[in-house]
């Protein structure tokens, strides 16, 4: 769905339409996909582009997401530029093959409309799907807005295919909240897009019978660790490539992208660390409190894997109290992944800030400005007492009255 006033001006696009449009502009060689809510319309719109001849892409309709990612791996090993889209159970079904894609160092780009994992079955936003894949060797970019999701697709291609990296990238945007909301987007031109992503020339191809290669050979005790070391070094290097590609994107198109977004953080005493669309809601609370003279701020990681640990430590080191808000629970009995990562990052900081973790908005439960304000209230009272009351807690939720009065939304 697109409401365009003028080709080079702003368009009103849903997150999924914007992502599909970016993928069209990239014009990948192969697009294997199995549609799943809430990323269905990415696949639907992209397949329309294929049917209309707007792209040269080979669209492969598969029987499951396991097959979708397997086809991505095969096509990428054949030297193709490959993209796909999924959500939730779809990503979960891809799991086994996600590790194969990263281990084989195939620069596949996947867009995930973040959605809760079953059970209970739920189609709405949380980050349990991609967070479960955080150790899969993929690079993870989380997008706050439709514009950012659109811009991230182009950058993901460049990051994935960078010779120092050669790893798959997933671009995450919040299910329904961002995938289905219409926002103003300033697209880039088709030619500019092509120029930015450039042509992909794979080092070797399964289809090159003059230069036969084996992909997916066994590597036992000795060599296995060599390849994992190479992979580990490559994902570390991805951080600099994300910065470099972000800079080039900014020079060309005027929108700034780094490892994370710092919002009113310079002189802040307390801050919230939070991913994706909920950061927008939190910024409204930051502004309200700043207007009341409170020194509050926000840090929104964009690159989550690899974790830009030194840079996050540097950005948070002057703070007194930090709250990490996770839209998923690791079920470790010790909070969410963002909390655990950021807490670990802060360990190296001298006079490190106090930190607590809050779990919010699971399965699409609403997170409003008042909820963000309540977190800041907790932060400010911790600042006063110098003591964290509760290290980890569920918010946007009252354990004494877990459902709203009429039970709606359950």
């Amino acid at each position: 769905m697109a409401i365009a006033r003028n080709k080079r001006e702003q368009m009103g696009l849903t997150g999924n339409s914007a992502v599909a449009m970016a993928m069209k502009q990239v014009n990948p060689d192969v697009f294997p996909a199995y549609p799943i809510t809430p990323s269905t319309t990415v696949v639907e719109e992209f397949s329309s582009y294929v049917a209309d001849g707007a792209v040269d892409t080979e669209f492969i309709a598969v029987e499951s997401e396991h097959s979708a990612m397997s086809a991505c791996v095969g096509a990428a090993a054949a030297g193709a530029r490959v993209m796909t889209a999924t959500s939730s159970q779809g990503l979960a079904l891809m799991w086994e093959v996600l590790y194969i894609a990263s281990g084989l160092r195939l620069p596949i780009v996947l867009c995930d409309g973040n959605r809760a994992l079953s059970s209970p079955i739920n189609i709405h936003c949380d980050h349990s799907d991609t967070m479960g894949a955080r150790d899969s060797g993929w690079i993870h970019l989380y997008s706050e807005t439709v514009q950012e999701a659109y811009d991230n697709i182009f950058q993901a291609v460049r990051i994935a295919e960078h010779p120092d990296v050669m790893l798959p990238v997933m671009v995450c945007l919040d299910g329904f909240i961002t995938t289905h909301a219409i926002e103003n987007v300033t697209p880039i031109g088709d030619e500019e897009a092509q120029e930015f992503v450039g042509e992909y020339k794979a080092k070797n191809s399964l289809l090159d019978t003059d230069n036969p290669v084996t992909v997916g050979a066994m590597a036992l005790q000795e060599p296995y660790m060599v390849f994992k070391y190479q992979q580990s070094e490559a994902i570390k290097k991805a951080k600099d490539v994300v910065i470099e590609v972000g800079k080039e994107f900014e020079e060309k198109f005027g929108r700034e992208y780094g490892l994370f977004e710092s919002y009113r953080l310079e002189d802040a005493e307390v801050a919230v660390v939070i991913l994706s669309s909920a950061a927008g809601t939190t910024k409204v609370a930051v502004d309200e409190l700043r207007a009341r003279g409170k020194k509050v701020g926000l840090l929104r990681p964009r690159l989550f894997r690899p974790l830009p640990h030194a840079e996050i430590a540097e950005a948070l080191k002057g703070l007194k109290v930090v709250a990490c808000l996770d839209r998923t629970d690791s079920m470790s009995g010790f909070g969410g992944p963002l909390f655990n990562d950021v807490r670990s990052v802060l360990y190296e900081v001298e006079n490190r800030p106090l930190i607590f973790g809050r779990i919010f908005g699971l399965g699409g439960r609403d997170y409003q400005v008042k909820d963000a304000l309540a977190v800041f209230e907790e932060l400010l009272s911790t600042l006063e007492t110098g003591k964290v009351d509760e290290l980890i807690k569920y918010i946007t939720f009252d354990p004494e009255a877990p459902l709203s009065v009429d039970g709606s939304g359950c």
């Binding site: 050669m166 084996t214 992909v215």
Partner: protein
């Protein structure tokens, strides 16, 4: 691995036919033995052998490549029932 210091990323083997260098003959517990009197040269064994260890020349079953034959017995069980030209014999230890 072509270069011991930095093997190709992703574990890609950058040349063909390397399976030949990996001898699976050492796995063998039973070895196939062919009776050329019975054999009708249908070459079914050549088709089914997972290690390309059946040596065939000019449409004739010649014997086995014992460097690669792993002793799975597929050739013996797929040799037509009326022929049964291949038998599996225990390897001498």
């Amino acid at each position: 691995m072509s270069d011991k210091k930095s093997p190709p990323i992703g574990g890609v083997i950058e040349r063909g036919g390397t399976a030949h260098e990996y001898t699976t003959g050492g796995w063998r517990k039973f070895k196939p033995v062919v009776d050329h009197e019975k054999c009708i040269n249908c070459l079914i064994c050549w088709v089914v052998c997972p290690d390309s260890a059946i040596i065939a020349e000019e449409g004739k079953m010649i014997g086995f490549d014992m460097e690669h034959c792993k002793g799975c017995g597929l050739c013996a069980s797929e040799c037509p029932d009326k022929i049964t030209a291949i038998t599996m014999e225990e390897e001498a230890d």
